[in-house]
């Protein structure tokens, strides 16, 4: 996760639901009506790179009594709702992570660091380990005739998120190269 990491930038751009804690004039364009003020308790979808900062930085301490309250409050997004977490616990391998969010792991890590969420991390660890076994199975079953076409890997491949795709591609490449080298020098 570095500054020039494309996947990181893409992950940061995904929207999270937020609720404003203040009336702020001029910020109406976040809601879609430019030139107006934004109302307290308005619900807005903000990209994570903006929401993360606004959720930490507070309002003016001098003007307000409730200076500890940040500008916005991040609300529980759909992708970390109990429904999804239960689905992960019951069967990580059959879960369609890609349809939940294509950068699921990256966002989950960011979310968990933001809130110190131990439970989420535990669920993620379990999920990653379970899914890695499946990824390894798929990556190491190399048929040299099929390498060119790439298809016929089944529906599991369609459920991988971006991080898992990198994982799969790397291990698949190394398995393929080893096999090629063993077979004909």
């Amino acid at each position: 996760m570095s500054y020039y990491d494309i996947d990181d930038i893409l992950a940061d751009a995904s929207k999270f639901p937020c609720r404003f804690n203040y009336d702020i004039p001029g910020l109406g364009y976040l809601e879609g009506n430019a030139g107006k003020e934004i109302r307290k308790n308005a619900k807005v979808e903000l990209p994570l790179w903006l929401a993360r900062i606004l959720a930490i930085v507070g309002g003016d301490a001098g003007l307000n009594d409730e200076d500890a309250l940040p500008f916005v409050e991040l609300m529980q997004p759909e992708m970390f709702s109990p429904k999804v977490l239960n689905a992960i616990k019951s069967g990580p391998v059959t879960l369609d992570v890609h349809s939940i969010n294509s950068h699921f792991y990256a966002l989950a890590i960011k979310w968990a660091t933001l809130f110190n969420d131990r439970d989420l991390i535990e669920v993620l660890n379990y999920m990653l380990l379970e899914r890695c076994q499946e990824i390894n199975n798929h990556a190491s079953s190399v048929q040299l005739e099929n390498v060119g076409r790439g298809g016929s890997q089944g529906t599991f491949m369609l459920t991988l998120d971006e991080f898992e795709k990198v994982l799969y591609k790397d291990s698949h490449e190394s398995c393929k190269d080893t096999k090629k080298w063993v077979i004909r020098k």
């Binding site: 570095s2 500054y3 020039y4 790179w49 900062i53």
Partner: protein
């Protein structure tokens, strides 16, 4: 009654091996590796940490593997590379001389019998082929090593720039060779110029820095200190005696104790074992050559 005479036998052995090794190195000087170091033989025996072409090549291979696998840029082995480069040069000239002599011999003896010429040519050819192939192998390792280092310099150029200031533990001239230093300076200057001209000058002044670490995302890439690496524990050099860090566990195995900071856990690296470890845990041992990355 058993009298243990192992040490007496070892003493005898050492004498013979000393003679043997000097013979071998002399043989090397004559045939394959020309002018290994210009060090007279008696001096070589005084320094037991023998500087020989073979041991240098082994050190080079080990350094190459470490450099390929480690997340950080390792300090440049100035002396080793100096020796290796000089040997490549010497060997190149030697091969040229041998092949020239081979041509002369052929033309000179062509008047005699043609059959014997064919057989001597064949005899000469095999050593020549071996020398050339050997040189190619050595050159490949050196090239691959330097390329790998250049890729790391590209990646961490902003991080390396911080090393110039006083809080760097290692001075940058020790970390990089002279050529790498020049590459690093000119390459980062060119990159900075490109960024400045194309994008950064349209930005507000406070957003123009490329090494801003106070923003929401750090712009300076540090090496991934906690990346997992495979290590092989080879232990200290047998000649150097006992390493103070080495300990013995209840099974009689020698091991290095390392502690993993984040988990508050102790781990034992037994000699001859292969482990998957975080790099920052084994970094000291890697730099001291007690373990190697694989």
């Amino acid at each position: 009654m058993n009298i243990d005479i192992d040490d007496i036998l070892a003493d005898l052995d050492r004498d013979t091996t000393a003679v043997d090794s000097s013979l071998i190195t002399q043989g090397h000087n004559d045939t394959t590796v020309l002018g290994s170091d210009g060090i007279p033989l008696n001096k070589q025996r005084v320094v037991p940490a023998a500087i020989s072409p073979v041991s240098d090549f082994q050190t080079l291979m080990r350094f190459w593997r470490n450099e390929r696998m480690s997340p950080e840029l390792l300090p440049y082995p100035h002396l080793l590379m100096e020796r290796t480069l000089r040997r490549i040069q010497d060997q190149l000239e030697h091969i040229e001389c041998v092949s020239m002599g081979y041509l002369e011999e052929q033309s000179g003896s062509a008047e005699n019998t043609s059959e014997s010429v064919g057989s001597t040519a064949l005899l000469n050819k095999l050593p020549l082929l071996c020398m050339e192939a050997d040189l190619e192998r050595l050159k490949f390792v050196v090239r691959s090593l330097l390329r790998c280092r250049l890729a790391k310099i590209d990646k961490y150029s902003l991080y390396l720039r911080q090393f110039d200031s006083e809080h760097g533990v290692v001075p940058i001239s020790e970390l990089l060779s002279r050529q790498e230093l020049e590459y690093h300076e000119r390459h980062s200057a060119m990159l900075l110029k490109l960024l400045n001209n194309s994008i950064l000058r349209h930005m507000p002044p406070e957003a123009q820095a490329v090494d801003d670490n106070d923003g929401s995302v750090k712009m300076v890439d540090e090496p991934e200190w906690d990346r997992f690496v495979f290590v092989y524990v080879n232990g200290p050099d047998t000649k150097q005696g006992v390493d103070p860090r080495l300990q013995v566990n209840e099974l009689g195995q020698q091991f290095y104790p390392v502690s993993i900071q984040e988990l508050h856990e102790e781990a034992e690296l037994a000699l001859g074992g292969i482990y998957v470890m975080r790099y920052n845990v084994v970094r000291e041992l890697v730099l001291d050559d007690m373990v190697q990355l694989i």
